[in-house]
């Protein structure tokens, strides 16, 4: 049982569930309690001990069905094979017709096993004639481990590994034997049987390899892709990866938010709060029993994000917006603005609509127009400047390409003065700043921090460190 559960847990880990060894022990204990005969009960018991989140639970249940069905299927599939070759089929049953052929062949073969010819055959051929399929299964499993069935990353590797397993079991010798025997007509029954069994065996190996792939490494390919997407430049990601990227962004935003959304209190031990101490101890006749200490409460960060959605950043804007949307979903105090030439607040829009709809809406209404930072900032001054105070972080996502218009720098200067911090994330590399119509240099003095941000990893790192500093 330990081996079965151990493999199952390994498969779950591959599917992305964080299972600790303590939980593994719990699962073993639970399984001992419930026994493994009662499927639904075992499923619940393992689910409770191994998955600690609803989404993990769903994965677990799916994997459980896959894994244990496959397991049962293996055990059952042995039986029909055995009965087909070893036990005589009752005559007169309609479906028995092909089986009887098989039986006769088997009988012939049984006669042939002891013939001098059979003794010269390869071990695999002898085993196939013996028809002990459960022993075959064990051999497949051990050969499979050798051939790396559990390390398959892409499903295109399945045929290769299947072939390798077949070779490891002695496929080529079998082929030679078959070729040798086919020359002699006397052996035709035996050859036919062996061919049939070989096809069966191949199917069995393929099933085994596929199942291993599904259990252990199905998610490996996905993980590789995710890893790549993290590093790749946002401008180079095509739309086909958009959905996966959306998931990634959402994950990243959620992680950031769960790390930073709680309010923390920091006690400055050593500073006695005299007023509160006296008040708290009035009941004790002025004896100072309870000491109260001064502490500072750190507020949750208040963030204003401004996102450029104009034509020049259209490739990146999609992802920035996605991130913005997710951030607002998880951080309570984020206000979002978008602009090309006119600025608009989209906080409400994001809150009321679901992701795809909201993004499409934003890009349709404000996107892909020519940029005018000056005008946008003037709008921003009207809408939000009064709300910026020394707790606010302002984040600008944009390339500062202003089509040679006036940049309205004084407004940005005011924003900088009033807020706690101004962060400018530019999707272009620092070498292309100030080339062409970019006026990054004019805004630069009024930013606490300027960063190049053109991959999801960048975005994650920058916002993570900023939020950390903020709290």
């Amino acid at each position: 049982m330990q081996k079965v559960l151990g493999d199952f847990i390994h498969a779950l880990r591959q599917a992305g569930l964080p299972i600790s060894s303590a939980e593994t022990l719990d699962a073993l204990k639970a399984a001992q309690l419930t026994g493994i005969e009662n499927g639904p009960l075992l499923r619940q018991a393992l689910g409770m001990t191994l998955s600690k989140r609803l989404e993990h639970r769903l994965i677990h249940d799916q994997m459980f069905d896959q894994y244990f069905n496959a397991y049962e299927h293996l055990e059952q599939s042995d039986d029909p094979n055995l009965s087909a070759s070893d036990k005589p089929q009752p005559a007169g049953r309609p479906e028995a017709a092909p089986a009887t052929v098989d039986n006769r062949a088997a009988a012939d073969a049984a006669g042939a096993i002891n013939s001098p010819l059979a003794r010269q055959l390869s071990p695999l051929a002898q085993q196939l004639m013996g028809g002990d399929m459960s022993a075959m299964q064990v051999m497949i499993a051990s050969a499979g481990t050798g051939a790396g069935a559990q390390q398959i990353t892409f499903n295109t590797q399945i045929p290769v590994v299947t072939y390798r397993v077949m070779q490891a079991l002695g496929g080529s010798e079998l082929q030679q034997d078959l070729a040798a025997m086919a020359k002699d007509d006397e052996n035709s029954a035996l050859v036919q049987l062996l061919r049939q069994r070989r096809t069966q065996l191949q199917q069995q190996i393929r099933d085994y390899v596929e199942q291993q792939y599904l259990l252990f490494n199905q998610n490996e390919a996905l993980r590789l892709r995710e890893d790549k997407l993290q590093k790749i430049r946002l401008t180079n990601i095509d739309l086909s990866n958009y959905k996966l990227m959306g998931e990634l962004v959402r994950k990243a935003a959620k992680r950031l938010a769960s790390m930073h959304s709680r309010r923390r209190r920091m006690t400055r031990r050593g500073l006695l709060d005299v007023r509160r101490t006296i008040a708290a101890n009035a009941a004790y006749d002025g004896f100072l029993f309870h000491t109260k200490w001064k502490s500072t409460r750190i507020e949750r960060p208040e963030v204003i994000v401004i996102c450029d959605v104009s034509g020049s950043v259209s490739q990146v804007a999609r992802f920035l917006l996605l991130f913005l949307y997710c951030l607002q979903d998880v951080l309570p105090r984020v206000r979002s603005f978008v602009f090309s030439s006119e600025m608009a607040e989209v906080t409400e829009l994001f809150a009321s609509k679901d992701m795809d709809e909201a993004l499409a809406d934003v890009l349709k209404r404000w996107g892909n127009a020519p940029t005018h930072y000056g005008k946008a900032l003037a709008d921003f001054e009207q809408m939000a400047l009064t709300d910026i105070d020394n707790k606010t972080t302002v984040i600008m996502l944009g390339d500062a390409r202003n089509n040679n218009e006036d940049g309205n720098i004084p407004v940005w200067q005011k924003v900088y003065r009033q807020s706690q911090r101004v962060l400018w994330l530019n999707p272009e590399g620092s070498l292309s700043w100030d080339t062409g119509d970019s006026i990054m240099n004019q805004y630069a003095p009024y930013c606490s921090h300027i960063e190049t941000c053109n991959s999801l990893r960048d975005l994650n790192r920058i916002l993570g460190s900023e939020l950390k500093r903020n709290t």
Binding site: D26, G47, R262
Partner: protein, 314 residues
């Protein structure tokens, strides 16, 4: 506690039956979780939408095992002094005042400061002994002679520091008090933690618990629940009611009606002598089910459509 109730908890099915006897209709998953919690001595973390009977589960478990239920409601700012123990400052103060004369007697004749202090030390830490200890829920649960059910309600509302503080209790059923040393549970309590998911709980906490997610019940179970809670309601109305609630849960509402609201509604309909669900009754009693004006406004024009859908199902 476990041994005493061995026959009641020897399998998930018996637990389920006993719960039903107590008027708590539960799914297999819930029964299994209680079974595992009792036998593995592990806390259960119960999650799910509000109003599906998370707190009720703990109450019924205490009835089932005839053990006292010790409940601790969590909130932001909850700390050790309110959750674990506190010294009875007032009593300490009063006693020192009353015993002033006694102390004088004890000290009489002592030569020099050294001797006085030595004499004082002979009496031990009287003022930091059990008599001056005010046990709070956690300590109470550990000290219960015969085991207890400890319900830590809405753990997600407490601070993260408090969550970390709970870890020792949850894994070893013991707790350290600086003045008294480590206190170990006399008989391990069965701990239920409930969470409404307002924030993500730490992995360390989750690792120590069994995880139980209670979703909205399926139709059959919900009908059984109503039969158990409001037995007088007639069969047809009950089916209509459950089907209607099911339809409401499929709508995009701010807060969908939970089981507790279904029960309230069933009671109200019984009180009003309704025997067939129609448009007017629903409209008049909708505020029992929906707690936001926006939701009520969204549902009201849809009532006829919903009723048609219900008629198809019943």
């Amino acid at each position: 506690m476990i041994i005493r109730n061995k026959d009641k908890i020897h399998s998930p099915d018996t637990i389920k039956q006993h719960f039903e006897g107590l008027g708590y209709i539960c799914s297999d998953a819930i029964a299994t979780s209680v079974y595992l919690a009792c036998h593995l001595q592990k806390p259960i973390l119960v999650e799910g939408p509000p109003g599906v009977g998370k707190t009720e589960l703990a109450k019924k478990a205490s009835e089932l095992l005839s053990a006292p239920l010790i409940r601790m409601q969590c909130y932001e700012g909850l700390d050790e002094a309110k959750a674990l123990y506190e010294w009875k400052y007032g009593k300490q103060l009063l006693y020192t005042q009353l015993l002033k004369d006694q102390l004088g007697d004890v000290m009489r004749g002592a030569k020099g400061l050294d001797e006085s202090v030595t004499r004082l030390h002979q009496f031990g830490d009287i003022f930091y002994s059990d008599e001056f200890l005010e046990p709070r829920p956690l300590l109470e649960a550990l000290r219960a002679e015969d085991g207890a059910i400890l319900l830590i309600d809405e753990i997600d509302k407490a601070d993260q520091e408090f969550e970390a503080f709970l870890l020792e209790l949850l894994s070893d059923y013991q707790i350290s008090i600086p003045e008294l040393g480590t206190i170990k549970a006399k008989s391990s309590p069965i701990v239920f933690l409930t969470s409404n998911n307002t924030r993500e709980l730490s992995d360390a906490l989750k690792r120590r618990c069994l995880h139980l997610y209670i979703p909205f019940p399926c139709k059959e179970i919900e009908q059984k629940i109503i039969t158990a809670q409001v037995p007088e309601l007639n069969e047809q109305l009950k089916q209509q009611l459950v089907a209607f609630i099911g339809e409401l849960r499929d709508m995009a509402l701010k807060k969908v009606p939970a089981v507790s609201e279904t029960i309230d509604w069933a009671r109200a309909l019984l009180l009003l002598n309704v025997d067939n669900l129609d448009h007017d009754w629903i409209k008049n009693t909708l505020n029992l089910l929906l707690k936001f004006q926006d939701d009520i406004e969204a549902v009201e024009p849809e009532i006829n459509n919903l009723l048609k859908a219900v008629a198809k199902q019943v």
